[in-house]
Symmetry: C2
């Protein structure tokens, strides 16, 4: 099996304790570059990113992220999105940032780190994402929809249990194997 398939199959969402070992800027840049290499609807490039590795800013961000999640990671990448219309009333910004996030999760794993897609936690009615955006000076026309903790895992990885392959994948027609 090639390295790409192996990474894709083995990646998992990591919510355990992270090592305090810092992540070099060069690695954060590689991960962000991976995110921005994702395709976007009509090439509108609706996704932007802010990596945070300043301990004081990390602390401020985690003060508003309640209940706490992945607070031991030494850094994070915050995902910003803009509702830019691709054409007429069509806007693909959710698709765009999701593809970018998946690329970043894979890139992080390829460099020896773990991460977790944390979205619902900060886009709920208590608008934690906007509080984080305010700390980072993000203008109102962007939404901060997700953050990815980045760091080395100190605990064992656990794979999410999934349905059998043939319950969700078919050939030449619905339900056909």
């Amino acid at each position: 099996m090639n390295k790409i398939l192996e990474t894709i199959y083995n990646r998992t969402s990591y919510r355990g304790k992270y090592s305090s070992e810092p992540v070099p800027r060069a690695h954060l840049e590689e991960i962000m570059k991976a995110g921005l290499s994702a395709p976007s609807g009509c090439n509108k490039q609706t996704t932007s990113l802010i990596a945070v590795d300043d301990p004081d800013i990390m602390k401020k961000l985690h003060e508003v992220i309640q209940p706490p999640v992945c607070e031991t990671a030494p850094c994070m990448i915050c995902v910003l999105t803009q509702k830019i219309y691709a054409y007429r009333d069509k806007c693909f910004n959710v698709q765009d940032y999701s593809a970018a996030i998946e690329n970043m999760l894979l890139a992080a794993v390829s460099l020896g780190y773990q991460s977790c897609w944390i979205e619902g936690h900060i886009t709920d009615e208590d608008k934690i994402g906007r509080k984080m955006a305010d700390i980072l000076g993000v203008p109102e026309d962007y939404d901060l929809v997700c953050f990815l903790p980045i760091g080395k895992a100190e605990e064992e990885l656990k794979k999410a249990k999934k349905k059998d392959f043939w319950e969700r994948a078919w050939f030449n027609g619905y339900g056909k194997n």
Copy 2:
């Protein structure tokens, strides 16, 4: 640079002519397995897939895909989604299928194929996605939102022109490098 980053950075959307060389089932299964390995909000696994490699069914599908796009590819993977609530009114099915698609694009490239994320073309008011779903016997509670042509490229790859990295990626605050 590692193989994963290299694949992520170099992947591009291919809309040119495809070779008629068939794609082995084992490869289509690997690509679909990559798609289904993507994370999903609250592990709801809202994405399902149908690979089509039967020439008669390919012909029927391309009859409803108007204007034609990537019609020379020997096969395709159709992406189905279900609006399953993760919790309360929260549904992450767009995020789920987008992450699955990105995984499949990377997996396809890793196996020597090219592809293209074709979504807006079939989810417009003329509801081509529903016509495709009917050909494939897909129940009404699924939406067919995207198809990925899969095959070998016969023309040169072209990379989409993108904004400079530092226009969309920052450290520790909006616009900060």
